[in-house]
């Protein structure tokens, strides 16, 4: 991927101009750490705060008009990435550029302009809508905040958005509790589209829904993307859904991007052992599934408070060798925009010469007891 290479050049230029060939969103070395034990009392007693490295050096771009799927298991930092990227959380380090302009530090009119162009749909349609507002008010609120058009025009736009997401304008006087989960998610989508954004972060938009309703919403999101010319960052843990909707996919593990590439490449020729394990684990809904031998990954995801040295996946990886414990692999090119953060992607890497580690089951045993010790030490602290 070229944008990683010419990053330095752009920094030299200082400002870059909006350009249709450039990616819409560029995320560079994004970090978001949360701190535990950071209260006044802790400081007075001289305890060092513990960093939870939720997002730890993430790089990717989102091209105009595409859907980038961000997939990973719970706690891998995918939602934090989405929220930090929109400036809803303050990044610990790294930059996010939207249409060439850094997002961090925007204020006043610039910030408002950015918020008009980038929206978000949240996971839980039950807690992300104000129960005291009518659906019409919920969808109109962004328009009011941004002072768009006259009151009548706003009402017209609300009616239009509700109809576009498959509700009726007549339902605008109703309250969220009168709608089902799927309908509420449609309201959330209508609200995100009220300001005519170019870019929408969809944070697990269908994971709270039943499969039949999930399929309706996925079809709707596809239609709206064509209609409004939208760019999506689609965050999800369900690999089938991600494959269905994405053009490109980034797989996250423990705060890092393990693999990124076109959807076909990721699902047909996964280069990272973690991606391979994820795909292996998903139970398929067909009759051949019964006889498929599934090699389940051993162990649990390590704690982001104290991530493993070297490659973060080496504690569970069936192919791990000494090299993986010592060195954190960068993302290696696996052809046609496909990159995997694994030494196995490189033919002549020192990895191939180093000694294999013991099997992940045995290593899992070791990690487990380590985990136990650490947990005992931190047993009196609230968990993150």
């Amino acid at each position: 991927m070229s944008e990683r290479l010419d990053r330095d050049e752009r920094d030299v230029d200082g400002t870059s101009t909006a350009n249709a060939d450039e990616p819409l969103v560029t995320v560079e070395d994004l970090e978001k750490h949360y701190y535990e034990n950071d209260s006044l009392l802790d400081r007075l007693s001289g305890r060092d705060p513990t960093a939870v490295r939720a997002v730890d050096g993430v790089n990717f771009t989102v091209e105009r008009g595409e859907t980038l799927g961000l997939v990973g298991e719970s706690g891998c930092g995918k939602s934090t990435t989405g929220e930090t990227l929109l400036g809803l959380r303050e990044a610990t380090a790294g930059t996010v550029r939207f249409d060439g302009e850094p997002v961090a530090g925007l204020s006043g009119d610039d910030e408002k302009a950015f918020r008009r162009r980038a929206g978000i749909v949240f996971q839980d349609p039950f807690s992300s809508l104000d129960p005291r507002q009518t659906v019409g008010e919920i969808v109109r609120e962004p328009l009011d905040v941004h002072g768009i058009d006259t009151r009548e025009e706003r009402e017209e736009r609300v009616a239009d958005r509700l109809e576009r997401v498959g509700l009726s304008a007549a339902q605008r006087e109703r309250y969220p509790h009168e709608f089902s989960g799927g309908q509420r998610q449609r309201v959330g989508i209508a609200r995100a589209l009220a300001l005519d954004p170019e870019f929408v972060v969809l944070d697990e938009p269908v994971s709270a829904l039943d499969v039949s309703v999930q399929a309706q919403i996925l079809n709707l999101l596809g239609d709206l993307q064509d209609e409004f010319d939208l760019t999506y960052l689609f965050i999800a843990h369900d690999l089938s859904v991600v494959r269905h909707i994405s053009d490109r996919v980034a797989v996250m593990y423990l705060g890092e991007v393990a693999e990124i590439g076109p959807v076909e490449a990721i699902f047909e020729r996964p280069g990272h052992p973690y991606t391979q394990a994820l795909l292996e684990s998903v139970p398929r809904a067909n009759t051949a599934e019964r006889d498929r031998e599934v090699e389940a990954l051993a162990g649990d995801v390590p704690s982001p408070r104290d991530p493993p040295s070297g490659c973060r996946f080496h504690t569970r990886c069936p192919h791990a060798r000494e090299a993986c414990r010592e060195e954190d692999p960068e993302r290696f090119d696996a052809g046609s925009g496909h990159e995997a953060a694994c030494f196995r992607a490189v033919d002549e890497h020192a990895y191939w010469e180093s000694a294999p580690l013991e099997s992940p089951e045995e290593r899992a045993q070791a990690t487990e007891s380590d985990l136990g010790e650490r947990d005992e030490r931190t047993a009196d602290e609230p968990s993150a």
């Binding site: 498959g166 007549a170 339902q171 499969v211 494959r243 599934v294 389940a296 136990g372 005992e376």
Partner: protein
């Protein structure tokens, strides 16, 4: 399939109906559900939220709490010893080796829980007591079984009531057994882990611990209610492999309840598809997945994106899962309002049809070949059946209900 075709089912649920009497009215959560589970078999129950699959499990276990009530049905459980014990006092509840658990005293039902039938729940974090170590909680389950088997059944109900101090009542043997069980379910370093509290476990580890607890009484039947729903896929794969291994080793039967068709395909021999409190289609995995008859089953299968071969567009089921309030349920096929093939006859409730075209799948065996014919043993309970007229005759365009027959009450697309 384990168990053999001619052996009696381990569990035979007939016409089970559970209702909730709420302030808003009567909710028909489970309606006339029939299914059987044979020895060593995995029976799947699949459905969307609110379809009644969890309440079905709770009803079998007799764990339905007020305002819910099991209003009808029989739960036949095959246990020769129990049948012998019950034969004198409750002759109507005994049929050969099987006992109708609905017709025996609740103490007897209680005595079966854990020792004969165990259950694991969806959310391991809220199913454990956070203030007691995991080892102690499993030892407690072991202790309950130990005491129960040391006492005759008639006195069990009294000894099972644990008073003050029950938490420290477990003996060293129980504790050792707990550690063994933790080891069996693949928890590394079980001696140390037994001393830890639930919050020190990850979700997957805690689910393993819950399986260990359920196995403490060496049950013949395990009811698993969404055992992997709260887990990530890589951990889900571990737990599903664990359940399969345990089933091979211990030969228990499993009722697996889930909304995930992939999990069903992975584990089940037979399954029932639930919709609005009813099992609308029933059959072997191949029957239901490869030749689904009920439009709801077809819709469910069409709604999931295929991981290996993605289609450009999904085929969702229009509309919503219906309200189960009795007042809002017409006496028709509950799926008719969402069904693309609704016909005039669908306004009458469809019986369960045999898919092979032999008409209504009856529960009673007309030839009375069964040795225990008094109660009317049913015909083949493992056949492919569907509560849909399409299993009986072809779709007829002429009898199709006009579009909007059920009235989109708001004029908009009902999601």
């Amino acid at each position: 399939m384990a168990g053999g075709a001619n052996s009696e089912p381990l569990l035979d649920v007939r016409d089970l109906t559970t209702r909730f009497f709420t302030e808003e009215g009567r909710v028909n959560a489970v309606e006339s559900v029939d299914f059987t589970v044979h020895d060593g078999e995995v029976f799947g129950v699949v459905g969307e939220s609110g379809s009644g699959k969890s309440v079905t499990a709770l009803s079998v276990m007799d764990l339905v709490e007020s305002p819910g009530e099991i209003v009808a049905g029989e739960v036949w459980y095959r246990d020769a010893d129990l049948a012998g014990e019950m034969a004198d006092d409750h002759p109507k509840a005994v049929d050969g080796d099987a006992v109708d658990l609905r017709r025996v005293p609740s103490e007897v039902r209680r005595s079966l829980r854990g020792s004969s039938v165990s259950m694991i729940f969806q959310d391991p974090m809220s199913s454990f007591n956070p203030s007691i170590t995991v080892g102690e909680q499993i030892a407690e389950a072991v202790e309950v079984q130990r005491r129960a088997s040391a006492n005759p059944r008639s006195t069990r109900s009294r000894t099972q009531g644990f008073g003050l101090g029950s938490m420290v009542a477990s003996t060293m043997e129980s504790h050792e057994r707990a550690i063994e069980l933790l080891d069996e379910v693949g928890i590394p370093d079980p001696e140390a882990r037994a001393e830890e509290y639930p919050h020190q476990y990850s979700g997957g580890m805690l689910q393993r611990a819950m399986v260990a607890q359920a196995l403490a009484g060496e049950p013949d039947l395990l009811i698993a209610d969404e055992p992997t729903t709260a887990l990530d896929v890589t951990i889900e794969a571990q737990i599903l492999n664990l359940l399969a291994d345990l089933q091979d080793d211990l030969g228990m039967a499993i009722v697996l309840i889930t909304h995930d068709l992939g999990v069903i395909a992975r584990t089940c021999d037979r399954l029932g598809v639930m919709y609005a409190g009813e099992i609308v289609e029933h059959g072997s995995l191949a029957d239901v997945f490869d030749s689904p008859v009920h439009p709801y089953t077809q819709g469910l299968l069409g709604s999931i994106p295929d991981l290996d071969d993605p289609a450009p567009r999904l085929n969702p089921i229009e509309g919503n899962v219906p309200s189960l309030l009795a007042a809002e349920m017409d006496d028709r096929c509950y799926f008719a309002d969402r069904c693309p093939k609704a016909m005039e006859e669908c306004l009458d409730k469809p019986p369960s049809f045999a898919v092979d075209g032999t008409g209504v799948a009856g529960r009673t065996d007309p030839t009375g070949t069964s040795a225990t014919g008094t109660d009317g043993r049913k015909a083949d309970t493992t056949a492919h059946t569907a509560k849909c007229y399409l299993a009986d005759h072809e779709y007829g365009q002429a009898r199709a209900l006009p579009e909007g027959y059920f009235g989109g009450s708001d004029g908009g697309t009902d999601t």
